[in-house]
């Protein structure tokens, strides 16, 4: 039986082949690689650089330029705060601070046990429902710090959600 890792490498190889190992498909390839592996670590970027025969500095440059690419392994659960204008005006900053304090976490980072990551995004486009916070895949609109913290505790399994 093939291991998970090999499987993922095979998938990546297929993507590379689809794009004919073309340098100008780098962005597409990084997108697909992130889908397959979840994030882009150094070994993976080196691998892509070798496969496309382009300098690692170029691959690293592109991967770090765009905020959508994750270079570190995200936590088991991911909380994303929308720091778009509409959400900022509606006070998302206060919610983010409360989350940081409650779970002892900094935006952009993860908790030491790797269970929770806190990220920011520049707009998820649900501005009419501002402020919005995304917990795993669920969008919480017109969010308050109480709702968000309760929701995070629920996904972490710390409390049973009663509603």
């Amino acid at each position: 039986m093939m291991s998970d890792t090999d499987n993922r490498r095979l998938l990546l190889e297929k993507v590379l082949k689809e794009h004919n190992y073309q340098e100008n498909a780098l962005l597409e390839i990084l997108h697909r690689a992130q889908e397959i592996y979840g994030y882009l670590d150094k070994d993976l970027l080196m691998d892509i650089s070798g496969s496309l025969n382009i300098p690692p500095s170029h691959v690293y440059g592109v991967a770090t330029f765009y905020s959508y690419f994750k270079l570190r392994k995200p936590g088991e659960h991911v909380v994303t705060g929308c720091l778009g204008t509409a959400c900022y005006v509606k006070g998302v900053e206060q919610i983010m601070q409360a989350v940081e304090e409650e779970f002892n976490i900094k935006r952009g980072g993860s908790t030491t046990d790797g269970k929770l990551s806190l990220l920011v995004t520049r707009c998820i486009g649900a501005c009419a429902m501002a402020p919005t916070i995304v917990v795993d895949d669920e969008v919480i609109g017109k969010a308050t710090k109480e709702i968000v913290i309760a929701k995070i505790k629920t996904v972490l399994g710390e409390i049973k959600f009663e509603a």
């Binding site: 073309q22 997108h31 959508y68 509409a86 005006v89 486009g125 649900a126 501005c127 009419a128 429902m129």
Partner: protein, 547 residues
């Protein structure tokens, strides 16, 4: 599919839809889905079966209806009855009373008629009315008849003439004449030629392009087809944000449908015209909206702008002539071809024709996606459509044009919204963000927030933008932490003007707008922060940990 078949498909579809007495449109766009729209859709499908009215009542999944703050929104036709905040539990009542008994459920209806009265929905003509995942819906609403008209009766020059006559200007922000741009690309000698549709809406707080793609993807595709025919391009890309999964899926399906009906591909409508279309995904870079940066990104590189000339019209993608157009601009094109450039030129104002979509957000009663004629005043948008500021608070400022737009005070509320009037007062049209701020907002903090955004999004290529904005941010840090000095004000003014004048691309050239406009219209607040160390809104002067 041939030219005549298109007419046949349209007629068949109209007959098919007429067979239903009622149509229930459930908004399933990104604004409503997180709040349960898909469950509401399923509940309607179940309820019409339960009441045995599925043969006379069609339940359709549509795009944005426009009232995003009271989602999920549901529109019942005929009569355009708009239900707000619909939950699966309320669905049975609507079907029973409205569809079966013919008595609309008044207490659930959206009451605010003023929200729609001053709007003029051209680009969003089909939004909330058609099922974006069914190409037949678009065709029955007159879709693809404009490209058919071009292929059958107009020369490429004839199309460009109509677009020129229409006075349409690019909706991406800069407002360059669309007809003139097309003529430049058409005249360029090199080949092949490309078209890039910009759907990278990087402005935080703006969702007009996303909504358009989710609600009416074929309008974008048809606009690109017409543009391709006019300038002689055979290949196009839609550059879309990765953060828009629903818009991506919708466009992917629309492209596949158009291909299967030979509306895209080798021999379109069997008229010997060839055009192929692909999606390209952005990855979260505000600067990628700049036209030379978007090209770099499509080519798989960092989205860094380069000096112009050469302009993309002559040397764009892979150094070939390239037409770059915002998707909102493109969605206007089928209407212009259908009704003529002259018709379009009479909409809006004489120098600024047509309509503009705005994402209306912030401290306002009716946030949502609106489309208004050019020349409408800010007051009409904020108070008549937007319903003013909630909770009895006072209006303070309106931010027009996204993070590099301007903060305008109440004395400018009578200003007509068009490219030139906005530029005159220090704002920009941008991609159409309007954010309303109430009396509890701190203008210094707001300007600092946008500056921070631009510092992060600066690509770092040119010094004024990279180093200048970082310095401006440091000054803001000082002012909001209580170490501001009087000379900071003149330093901010000088730096702002310098960054504006010396930066390479639109990002740096417009980034100082929030700083310069707040200094111009709200200088008192800066002085209060510096001299009295006081922030009336209570946003500043918190220690590091809190801030």
């Amino acid at each position: 599919m041939k030219l005549d078949d298109l007419q046949r498909v349209a007629e068949q579809e109209v007959d098919f839809q007429r067979a239903y007495k009622h149509r229930i449109n459930v908004c399933c766009s990104s604004g409503c889905v997180p709040f349960g729209a898909l469950k509401v859709l399923k509940a309607f499908e179940d309820a019409v079966k339960e009441f045995g009215v599925e043969k006379e009542c069609k339940v359709a999944r549509t795009g944005c209806i426009g009232t995003c703050s009271v989602g999920p929104a549901v529109l019942v036709e005929p009569g355009d009855y708009l239900y707000q905040s619909v939950t699966p539990e309320k669905v049975r009542e609507i079907v029973r009373d409205h569809i079966v008994l013919g008595l609309p459920v008044k207490e659930m209806l959206y009451q605010n008629q003023a929200y729609f009265q001053k709007q003029h929905r051209l680009v969003l003509r089909n939004a909330g009315k058609i099922d974006p995942l069914r190409i037949q819906d678009y065709i029955s609403a007159g879709g693809y008849s404009a490209i058919a008209k071009c292929l059958a009766t107009l020369t490429p020059q004839g199309v460009i003439y109509e677009v020129r006559t229409s006075g349409l200007r690019g909706r991406g922000g800069a407002g360059f004449s669309t007809g003139q741009k097309w003529a430049l690309v058409a005249r360029a000698q090199n080949s092949p030629k490309y078209i890039v549709a910009n759907l990278d809406e990087g402005d935080p707080g703006v969702f007009a392009n996303r909504t358009l793609a989710e609600a009416d993807p074929h309008a974008i595709i048809e606009g690109m087809l017409i543009a391709a025919y006019a300038v002689g391009a055979a290949k196009g890309y839609i550059y879309i944000r990765s953060e828009y999964p629903l818009a991506i899926q919708t466009l992917q399906k629309a492209i596949a449908q158009a291909k299967s009906m030979s509306l895209l591909g080798e021999n379109i409508l069997e008229m010997g015209f060839k055009f192929d279309l692909e999606l390209r995904f952005g990855a979260g870079a505000f600067v990628a909206g700049e036209e030379t940066a978007i090209l770099a990104s499509v080519e798989g590189r960092r989205a860094m702008p380069r000096p112009r000339p050469p302009y993309p019209a002559n040397s764009g993608l892979w150094k070939k002539p390239t037409l770059i157009q915002n998707v909102e601009t493109l969605a206007n094109i089928p209407l212009i071809v259908q009704n003529g450039g002259l018709w379009f030129s009479k909409l809006g104002t004489s120098k600024c024709t047509g309509t503009k979509c705005f994402s209306l957000t912030g401290q306002i009663n009716n946030p949502g996606l609106i489309e208004v004629p050019m020349g409408i005043t800010l007051r009409e948008v904020v108070f008549d459509i937007g319903g003013g500021v909630p909770d009895g608070k006072k209006f303070k400022a309106v931010l027009v044009g996204g993070p590099s737009g301007g903060c305008l005070p109440d004395t400018l509320l009578e200003l007509p919204i068009d490219y030139d009037s906005l530029t005159k007062v220090g704002a920009i049209m941008g991609s159409g963000g309007i954010v309303v701020l109430d009396e509890k907002s701190c203008m210094v903090d707001t300007a600092k927030f946008f500056t921070e955004f631009c510092v992060e999004e600066s690509c770092g290529k040119c010094t004024p933008c990279r180093a200048g904005l970082a310095r401006v941010k440091e000054i803001f840090d000082g002012i909001t932490m209580g170490t501001g000095k009087m000379e900071d004000i003149s330093t901010l003014e000088k730096s702002g003007v310098f960054i504006r004048d010396a930066s390479l691309c639109g990002l740096g050239q417009t980034a100082p707008n929030p700083v310069l406009t707040t200094l111009r219209y709200f200088k008192g607040e800066y002085l209060q922060h510096i001299v009295e160390k006081k922030c009336e809104a209570g946003k500043c002067f918190k220690n590091e940990k809190e801030a």
